[in-house]
């Protein structure tokens, strides 16, 4: 592929621009939730996350002091003070006295409210209201103003989500499900793959054919019978039907055909001489497997491990069926799905939770990308 097909400067430049646009489309969505998860929760709903590094503008309402605070100056009645009171000052850009026109007057100008009344509201929040007649009434004048707050980044959302929304607990649950559900199928598949590749026994060819046949079975086929089976076993022995052991075995079962298929084709390709010389030296099949085959198969084991880890960590369907949608054992994906229902508009909760659920796969993915790609290339037939 060293042959450059576009030689001119313009077409090279075009390639850079095109790739840049693709990269932007593929990264900006994820960036959006990362940035939002670090923003103040009031600012998330006040402005788009792409504006998060600029000050955010929001329209607020305040009330001037009541008539009792007025003083008489040069024959006019005057109310003075600061609209923010003791709160930290923000920048006011415009103000108004009607909710239908909250930003009618630019800050610093004197608005004529009619009836001999004027109001001036400055950018720092100080105001002067004058009237030719005395002010009356218990309640002061309502004032609307647009203020801008400086950008504010915080990790508060992470605290909230991890410790009070239950995401921390779900994170541990996900690890508890994922680690054994990755290791167990590797062990079982590796032994089976070795036997299918290098040991002689009746029915071997048939077994291989069955396993390749099972690659085509969609996961959906297994759900209802297994759910019934688990409920039956649970009520027969008086144990809960939704357990970690249950989901490990389910993930093992669904991952096994692909694991055996992938590992067998690799292990069968190992050089025959190594096995035979070990056998002549008196090594048993178990010793050959543990001391020779396992170390040599490391790359393919790593590929499958990453595959299975990502698949189990990201799975929602199996977790919802075999661990349930509520309770103590709920995993991250199911928790996130539940939050989408219960906290639909609370984007500070949703973006932060979503980022926590994707951070582990991203780390695994970036640190072990080489093995992952190798697994993809070897096993693009995975059914799941």
């Amino acid at each position: 592929m060293a042959v450059a097909t576009g030689k001119s400067f313009a077409s090279r430049f075009g390639v850079h621009i095109a790739v840049f646009i693709f990269v932007a489309i593929w990264t900006v969505p994820t960036l959006g939730i990362l940035v939002s998860s670090l923003r103040d929760k009031d600012q998330i709903i006040a402005s788009g996350w792409w504006n998060s590094f600029a000050s955010s503008t929001q329209t607020e309402a305040g009330r001037l002091p009541p008539a009792s605070a007025q003083v008489e100056k040069d024959g006019k009645f005057v109310l003075e003070g600061n609209i923010f009171g003791d709160d930290p000052a923000r920048d006011i850009s415009a103000f108004g006295v009607k909710s239908s026109a909250p930003t009618q007057y630019p800050a610093g100008t004197t608005a004529d409210l009619g009836d001999g009344e004027t109001l001036q509201l400055n950018a720092d929040g100080s105001f002067v209201m004058t009237s030719t007649k005395p002010f009356e009434g218990e309640r002061g004048q309502r004032v609307y103003y647009a203020s801008s707050a400086p950008p504010k980044f915080t990790t508060d959302n992470y605290d909230t989500v991890l410790f009070s929304e239950g995401i921390g607990r779900s994170f541990m649950n996900s690890l508890t499900v994922t680690i054994p559900a990755t290791v167990i199928p590797i062990l079982i598949a590796a032994f089976a793959a070795y036997a299918l590749a290098w040991m002689r026994f009746p029915g071997r060819a048939l077994l291989i054919a069955v396993i390749i046949g099972l690659l085509v079975v969609p996961l959906q086929m297994s759900l209802i019978p297994l759910l019934k089976l688990y409920n039956g076993v649970g009520s027969f022995f008086g144990v809960p039907s939704k357990t970690y052991l249950g989901i490990w075995l389910a993930h093992t079962g669904f991952g096994l055909p692909f694991a055996i298929y992938l590992l067998r084709s690799y292990i069968a390709g190992l050089p025959r001489e190594i096995m035979e010389s070990a056998r002549i030296d008196g090594a048993s099949d178990f010793e050959i497997f543990v001391k020779i085959v396992l170390p040599l198969s490391f790359p393919v084991l790593a590929s499958f491990a990453i595959f299975q880890f990502l698949w189990v960590w990201n799975d929602l369907l199996v977790a919802m069926v075999f661990l349930g949608t509520e309770g103590d054992q709920i995993v991250l994906t199911a928790k996130l799905n539940a939050l989408l229902g219960s906290r639909g508009g609370d984007w500070e909760i949703l973006t932060t939770s979503a980022f926590i659920t994707i951070v582990v796969p991203l780390i695994v993915f970036f640190s072990l990308q080489r093995y992952f790609v190798r697994g993809l290339l070897a096993g693009s037939v995975k059914g799941g």
């Binding site: 097909t5 969505p29 026994f201 079975v217 759900l223 989408l340 659920t357």
Partner: protein
């Protein structure tokens, strides 16, 4: 939290340790019952032969048992259940299948699945191919590929949250915090509630899957492109072919097999798409698909296993021919391994 971490670690050790203990223990047991060392020659040979008979089954045994329980038995059982009523007690013949094809929601799911099948695999393969070709020509191509590949590591639920945030809707004239509506409003358009727009909402859900799967297509196709012999490209350049001719007439035909494998792999995935629809709309606003409909029937009103099983069978009937063809194709590519 500490107690939970401790119990998690304990559970993990028991689970993984139990598995290791089986393989190690079973082997030890065979060695003890039929010793091949430290016994007389004839007996040792006899025992070695017995070991050779037993040991393969110790190795494949766990896999066979688990595959039987988790895949073989369920296939038979699901088929049986699809001919039974909701509780699985009475035989009802083809009633469930008749119900399915008469049901409005089922037909709408089939229709939506067909639209997904027509759009997603094609879009992923096409975009993946374009990006693979373009990134091959620039010095930062590897970084670009990594970034486009990245969504493949993100769960469907996570991706749904990411895109729901992009599709977020606020009334016209208000500050839009969803990127798509903000862009529309910036150019003077009307903000829309994208995920409840009838018919078009399907496409907004498909975008999520395309966003995830394009990286997969790109990586596989990129490695196939690298396998194209240089001479064929050089010859085309010398003959004065333009970049488009080289792409369509030289490169694409040579990687046709890989394109087909990528296409069919994504097709199978699309047939089983579930998480995205569940989290984005749960099938509302005419966006239902088969896999989500099946999940729905498994639990709706206490669960109707007969109808659920029927939908599973229909998914399987759709998946199998594609899968069989795909495995054949893949075996042909890798030379029978």
């Amino acid at each position: 939290m500490a107690a939970q971490i401790f119990s998690a670690i304990t559970v993990i050790i028991i689970g993984v340790g139990g598995c290791v203990a089986y393989f190690w223990g079973a082997n030890k047991l065979v060695d003890i019952i039929f010793p091949s060392r430290g016994v007389a020659g004839a007996a040792a040979i006899d025992n070695l032969r017995r070991q050779g008979l037993i040991r393969p089954w110790l190795f494949v045994g766990p896999a066979m048992i688990i595959l039987t329980i988790y895949l073989i038995y369920p296939v038979v059982e699901t088929l049986r259940l699809s001919f039974l009523d909701r509780g699985g007690a009475n035989f009802v013949g083809f009633t469930n299948y008749e119900w399915a094809f008469g049901d409005r929601e089922f037909r709408s799911s089939i229709l939506n699945n067909i639209i997904w099948l027509a759009v997603v695999p094609a879009a992923c393969t096409f975009l993946g191919l374009i990006i693979a070709v373009l990134t091959d020509k620039i010095w930062w191509g590897t970084i670009a590929k990594s970034l486009i590949f990245l969504p493949l590591a993100i769960s469907f639920v996570g991706a749904s949250v990411i895109w729901k945030f992009i599709y977020e809707y606020r009334g016209a004239g208000q500050t839009q915090i969803g990127l798509l509506n903000a862009i529309i409003q910036y150019f003077g358009g009307q903000p829309q509630v994208w995920i409840s727009l009838p018919f078009w909402n399907n496409f907004f859900l498909m975008i999520i899957l395309i966003w995830i799967q394009t990286g997969f297509a790109m990586v596989i196709l990129s490695s196939a492109l690298r396998g194209i012999p240089e001479e064929t490209l050089e010859a085309a350049v010398i003959d004065g072919a333009n970049p488009f001719q080289i792409f369509w007439k030289i490169m694409v035909p040579q990687i046709w097999g890989t394109i087909a494998v990528v296409w069919t792999t994504i097709t199978i995935l699309v047939l089983k798409v579930f998480d995205i629809v569940l989290t984005m709309t749960n099938g509302q606003w005419n966006s239902q698909v088969l896999a989500n409909l099946m999940f729905d029937w498994m639990f709706r009103g206490g669960g109707d296993f007969g109808r659920g099983a029927t939908i599973a069978i229909i998914i399987m009937i759709a998946v199998i021919p594609i899968m069989v063809w795909n495995i054949r194709q893949a075996n042909k590519e890798t030379g029978g391994h």
